[in-house]
């Protein structure tokens, strides 16, 4: 077993916090790991990345070779493009779609999403929206980690334990917000995949996730929503165009 993940984002978005959680979970699991990170100048709002590898066998390179990444896990949609050539042909993209615009030539977000939608192994999550629902916009990193956690070979408990140790010194409230961000993210990620696996297109699945109350999202409802989307495409469009958060389990009433 070997898992190679490129963590991507913008300096200040908490890439190293994600790395901390995964590193420690891997350490607990008795695995080997290496994780190369960026310090210094780029941390000031520049593009940052971390190469994270763990395995039950010795790992040689601190950097992931081109074509050996199993996942690009990004807290920012544009940043995926910078590293997608590291991905193995069947690699995963798990990314927030909440843009971090601190440059004048940021591309139109819709074009960006369309590019991302061309990946088959994909999870798109509106980390900004989910983090807000969890109680703090700064927790977007934990949302994305949660969303990716379904795809990586460490258990929810192993990861959550270190979400706690990471934020412990900041107090119980911060721990709670980040735990919630992780759990919401995990549910949204699972739900998104549930939709996508049952034929709901990537952007439609994202739109639906955004219409639902993040706190209510549960992957068990993915099947029902997918059938609803297939059976009632017009009704779904109406729902997507409306506003006000919908509870995920309302699908039973709709169907």
């Amino acid at each position: 077993m070997q898992e190679n993940i490129i963590l991507a984002g913008v300096g200040g978005q908490g890439i190293l916090s994600i790395a901390y959680v995964v590193d420690n979970a891997a350490l607990d699991a008795g695995l080997q790991f290496k994780q190369a990170e960026v310090h210094g100048m780029s941390q000031r709002g520049g593009a940052v990345q971390s190469h994270l590898r763990y395995s039950d066998q010795p790992i040689h390179s601190d950097l992931i070779p081109l074509g050996r990444a199993d996942m690009v896990l990004s807290v920012e949609p544009l940043e995926v493009l910078r590293y997608w050539h590291y991905l193995a042909p069947d690699g995963w993209v798990v990314t927030s779609v909440t843009p971090y615009v601190n440059i004048p030539d940021y591309p139109p977000i819709d074009d960006l999403l369309e590019e991302l939608a061309t990946f088959a192994n994909l999870v798109l999550v509106d980390a900004g929206q989910v983090a807000r629902a969890a109680g703090n916009m700064r927790a977007q990193n934990m949302v994305v980690l949660g969303a990716a956690s379904n795809q990586i070979e460490l258990t929810e408990d192993q990861l959550l334990k270190h979400v706690e140790t990471l934020f412990l010194r900041k107090g119980e409230k911060v721990v709670e917000v980040n735990r919630r961000a992780f759990s919401f993210g995990r549910a949204v990620g699972g739900f998104y995949r549930g939709l996508n696996d049952r034929g709901v297109g990537p952007l439609e699945a994202l739109a639906l996730c955004r219409r639902l109350d993040p706190a209510s999202i549960d992957p068990v409802h993915a099947e029902a929503w997918a059938s609803f989307a297939a059976a009632e495409p017009n009704k779904l469009r109406e729902i997507l165009a409306g506003d006000g958060a919908i509870a995920c389990d309302q699908v039973t009433a709709l169907a």
């Binding site: 420690n24 210094g40 000031r44 601190d62």
Partner: protein
């Protein structure tokens, strides 16, 4: 067995502590900063280790040498260009030799992630005639510290640990010893001639150093870090962490003959054995082609083709990585999900929103707008980012403190206005002496010290000359107190600040403007005001 999760830098720090360290010295600089910081945190918890940032690398080195003189083990850490600053003390400490173990950990930055060059510190070790150890992973960062201190005390020379960014800032699990070694006792070395490098003594000491060289060589030949495996007619020399990129790419049953090189001076006999065995030799090293050029010599080898950075198999400049090594080994690239995205909006680093430097440089830009294409000499720190759009306010960055000296030189040549912009910590590091020089010469220049109360870029370490200390130092150069002005860079003070700068620009003589407002990161982290 305890496994700890450590950066390469941190593993160096912990290794030093467990090897009986009594003092750590340094000046912050990416990618070396975390070595010191790790020991500093440890010292805060456990005590009994001196850990206080120095004003610059030269001072740090001399303090470490003093600790060594007293018989205790000292670690001095810096980035590669920091060793240029410390070079005087460094070179001469090889001549004096040491007493307690003295290890200099230098973190090079191939690829210049956060530096103005990618110089290779192995040349410095070679130049000073001292051993150099080059760890290839985090465990070795830890383990080698024990060896380095042992070597230093056995040979009575400083020993270099050479890191590169990719190991300094990469994390892995490290197994540590159950019982740390005790610190040395206070046992000063009173061999006065050894420490007093009058020419008559220095000649003797230098002779000693050269006489130690066969022993250094023998140790490198026998070192467990330099291993030779002879198999096929193609050979590879893998230096330091290049080994990781090599083993990442080759299959377990490869038939290449391999020499791993992590303990210098170059083990000549081992290299000769390899060279005589192969017809083709690839040299993999991160940094300059030191080993490659040495092996090739001026005229090349007769029966062996040597390949590497000098022959195009690997790029001459930049950081090594597994992909470059793969291609140098002649292996086809792996399949990837996508081709690299060609045109992607860059996201360069920038000053934090609300950073005091932004207000300072906005005011400076406006004050200078009556001049045609004015030049602002500057320095190294967060404010170097003011070179980038939208501010584009500074136009040089060369070496710590160079802004003031260069502005003075430009003024000597008749250039006006000669403006230098430098941070408070950079000022204490390398700006005081050129300012003293300029003031004493009465040079017509304007120095702006952006005093944000901290070393911002490397993570808000303590600055030595901020606030009142800074004011006193500036006044102490003999400057006319009327031309030391203090402004507070805030948007609401913009017009007033522009006015102050304009007044000083029109003054014919040395002036210093201190733009004082704390770094936002420092406020967040240390609650300073």
């Amino acid at each position: 067995m305890q496994r700890q999760l450590l950066l390469g830098d941190e593993a160096v720090g912990l290794g030093a502590v467990h090897a009986g360290l009594s003092g750590v010295y340094g000046y912050p600089g990416t990618p070396s900063t975390e070595i010191f910081e790790f020991v500093e945190r440890y010292a805060k918890k456990v005590g009994n280790i001196h850990a206080f940032w120095s004003t610059n690398e030269k001072v740090a080195y001399e303090e470490a040498l003093g600790m060594s003189w007293a018989g205790k083990r000292a670690l001095v850490c810096m980035k590669h260009v920091g060793l240029n600053v410390a070079a005087d003390a460094f070179m001469n400490s090889a001549i004096t030799g040491t007493n307690g173990g003295l290890v200099v950990a230098v973190a090079d930055d191939p690829g210049m992630h956060s530096s103005q060059n990618e110089q290779d510190s192995r040349y410095y070790a070679q130049f000073a005639l001292i051993p150099c150890l080059e760890p290839h992973d985090q465990q070795e960062c830890y383990d080698m510290m024990f060896d380095a201190f042992e070597l230093s005390e056995a040979l009575s020379t400083p020993v270099m640990i050479r890191l590169v960014t990719r190991i300094a800032h990469s994390r892995s699990a490290v197994v540590t010893v159950p019982e740390p070694r005790a610190q040395n006792d206070l046992e000063p070395n009173r061999d006065i001639k050894k420490w007093t490098l009058l020419p008559s003594n220095a000649r003797v000491q230098y002779q000693h150093l050269t006489e130690k060289q066969p022993e250094l060589l023998r140790q490198a030949e026998e070192s467990r870090y330099n291993t030779l495996t002879l198999v096929g007619k193609k050979g590879v020399i893998v230096c330091g962490l290049a080994a990781n990129y090599f083993y990442e790419n080759v299959a377990d049953d490869h038939d290449l003959s391999v020499l791993t090189l992590r303990h210098y001076p170059l083990p000549t006999a081992k290299i000769r054995t390899l060279v005589e065995h192969v017809d083709e030799l690839l040299v993999l090293e991160d940094g300059y082609p030191l080993v490659e050029s040495t092996i090739r010599g001026l005229f090349g080898l007769q029966n062996v083709t040597v390949k590497g950075r000098m022959t195009g198999e690997l790029p001459r400049t930049g950081e090594l990585n597994p992909d470059l090594v793969r291609s140098a080994l002649g292996l086809a690239p792996l399949d990837t999900a996508r081709e690299p995205q060609e045109s992607i909006a860059g996201r360069p680093p920038s000053l934090c929103t609300g950073c005091p430097h932004t207000d300072t440089f906005k005011a400076l830009n406006e004050a200078l707008d009556t001049f045609d294409n004015p030049q602002v000499f500057s320095d190294i720190g967060c404010y170097t980012l003011a070179a980038l759009p939208p501010l584009e306010a500074i136009h040089s960055c060369v070496a710590m403190g160079a802004s003031i000296g260069m502005a003075a030189g430009a003024a000597h040549a008749g250039y006006s206005p000669a403006v230098a912009a430098i941070g408070d910590s950079t000022f204490s590091h390398g700006g005081i002496t050129p300012l003293l020089s300029a003031v004493q010469q009465g040079v017509n220049l304007n120095v702006i010290v952006v005093d944000n109360s901290t070393v911002g870029m490397t993570g808000t370490q303590r600055s030595m000359s901020t606030g009142q200390t800074l004011d006193q130092i500036v006044l102490g150069t003999g400057i006319d107190p009327a031309h030391m002005r203090i402004i507070e860079p805030l948007p609401k003070n913009h017009d007033a600040n522009v006015q102050v700068i304009r007044e000083e620009l029109s003054y014919q003589g040395p002036s210093v403007i201190i733009a004082r407002r704390a770094c936002l990161e420092a406020i967040k982290r240390h609650k300073v005001s």
